[in-house]
């Protein structure tokens, strides 16, 4: 699966969590821009894990701050 397709699927998943309708770019930060708290992070990560049938461990999450980094991580985990 290529990066553009992965990004499109993640963009669709992020909708219900993007309460303020922030415009998403690769540089969008989850904590600072989207104001995700730990509960939101858990639900959002679970949605992505289910969509792609993968695990994004907390160790991997710690390296992900932006939307672009998330897309890259999912592409990498999916192989």
């Amino acid at each position: 699966m290529d990066r553009a397709e992965t990004s499109a699927r993640i963009a669709a998943l992020i909708e219900p969590f993007n309460k303020k309708g922030v415009a998403i770019t690769d540089a969008t930060r989850f904590t600072d821009d989207l104001e995700f708290d730990s509960l939101t992070v858990m639900d959002f990560v679970a949605a992505i894990e289910d969509e792609f049938d993968i695990i994004i461990s907390m160790n991997a999450q710690a390296e992900i701050e932006t939307y672009g980094q998330l897309v890259d991580a999912v592409v990498k985990i999916k192989g």
């Binding site: 708290d37 730990s38 509960l39 858990m42 679970a46 894990e49 289910d50 049938d53 993968i54 695990i55 461990s57 907390m58 160790n59 991997a60 710690a62």
Partner: protein, 422 residues
């Protein structure tokens, strides 16, 4: 624990830096927290950190700020703190072995009493091995960080206690949380773990925030199906839940499938210390490789003597267990009938969590109860599930039926004062 400002169980990353702007003061990162606490105290609310017990009269009553107060937030479930046999054993050990060991368990810190308390634990749980740590926190920290190594996976409930999270953080394993008590979410994650990776599932018998229990029988069966080892923290169930007080796993008939039980001496046992019991044939090697066990002084002789005596008495405490269940049912029903919203629909443990509409009224209610002469735990976001504000009540087997009725009356009066009951 209550909190003018409190902490989530899951550790947060504290960001440093910005040295020129703050003059190199490493404490400047805490400024927002210091400000938040000052603002809260400026409103005139009693500082929950300022609560001092001037005199402890019994397991259920203390003198707090000059007022005789019923204690309903101590985790002293079985009321062993003032048991005459327990106290006598502690005094004797002080006389015979001194005030402290001044050494690690693996050097000069293993006395006859340390062996005796581990034997008491083996007997209590009917298991082959027991290892005693200086606190319950260190038991989780040590066992989890040691047995799950790099490349292994830890699958744990998102509402796990801080000591479990910190054990994960200290170790090198991949950490994968799942939604609280969600069997399906746990299975999905187990299924996705790469083939060949070691797996440790971590669960708790009773979750201390809401006092709810885990569906251990179902969860452990699934964990075993995927070849995972299972660790269950039974800190809040020991001595009380299960026919022999071994905890929720015993109660649900699945204790034999638990690889490691973690527990504490600071709740039902009535002193301080922590432990892990296991039937794993190689368990004894833990004593050499588990750093929070090796690199700290062992418990004082008086503490292990009180713990051993208490544990042996808890083996034959069926009457106390029955009385505590009775109190839990009475309090749960009394508060439900009064119109309070509780954390569980039925009494599942000795913890009853009363859900407050918001932090402000929760704090008012907590203070109103203190003025009535009742101490409970105030728990607030971000330490609570779903950011709830809770008044957590933990019952003691020594609470009399009259005290429980008194407590219900105090809640109703304070509920009206704080505007929570109509």
């Amino acid at each position: 624990m209550t909190d003018a400002v409190n902490q989530p169980d899951q550790p947060e990353t504290i960001v440093g830096g910005n040295a020129p702007a703050n003059g190199g003061d490493l404490f400047s990162k805490f400024d927002p927290l210091i400000q938040m606490r000052e603002n809260l105290l400026a409103t005139g609310v009693t500082d929950p950190f300022g609560l001092v017990m001037e005199k402890v009269i019994s397991p259920t009553v203390a003198l707090c700020n000059g007022r005789e107060t019923i204690l309903l937030g101590t985790y002293n479930y079985m009321g062993m703190t003032f048991d005459p046999d327990v106290i006598a054993a502690g005094k004797q050990a002080l006389d015979d072995f001194g005030a402290g060991t001044t050494g690690s368990r693996v050097l000069n810190g293993t006395y006859a009493g340390h062996r005796a308390v581990e034997e008491a634990l083996c007997d209590f749980y009917a298991m082959d091995h027991a290892m005693v740590f200086s606190t319950g926190y260190q038991a989780n920290l040590g066992i989890i960080s040691t047995i799950a190594g790099k490349g292994d996976y830890i699958i744990l409930d998102i509402d796990s206690h801080a000591s479990i999270w910190d054990g994960c953080k200290m170790g090198d394993a991949e950490v994968v949380p799942f939604k609280h008590n969600d069997i399906e979410a746990m299975e999905k994650r187990l299924k996705r773990i790469p083939e060949g990776a070691g797996k440790l599932v971590i669960l708790e018998g009773v979750y201390s925030m809401l006092g709810d229990i885990a569906p251990l029988r179902e969860m452990i069966a699934i964990a075993k199906k995927y070849g995972a080892m299972v660790l269950v923290d039974e800190a809040h169930s020991m001595g009380f839940i299960g026919p022999n007080g071994r905890g929720v796993a015993e109660d649900q008939g699945c204790l034999d499938d638990v690889d490691f039980v973690i527990g504490t001496f600071s709740k039902s046992v009535g002193t301080v210390g922590g432990f892990c019991v296991s039937n794993h044939p190689k368990f004894e090697i833990m004593r050499l490789v588990c750093r929070p066990y090796v690199f700290t002084a062992s418990l004082p002789p008086s503490v292990v003597a009180t713990a051993a005596t208490s544990i042996r008495k808890l083996m034959n405490a069926a009457d106390k267990r029955a009385h505590l269940w009775e109190s839990s049912r009475t309090l749960h029903k009394g508060l439900t009938d009064a119109g309070f919203q509780l954390g569980t629909d039925s009494p599942q443990s000795a913890i009853i969590a009363v859900i407050m509409p918001d932090l402000e009224r929760g704090a008012m209610m907590w203070e109103a109860l203190l003025h009535e002469g009742l101490y409970v735990n105030l728990a607030r976001p971000p330490a609570t599930p779903a950011n709830m504000t809770l008044l957590r009540c933990s019952l003691c087997a020594e609470h009399s039926a009259e005290q429980v009725q008194q407590i219900i009356g105090m809640f109703i009066r304070a509920g009206k004062t704080a505007g929570i009951l109509g």
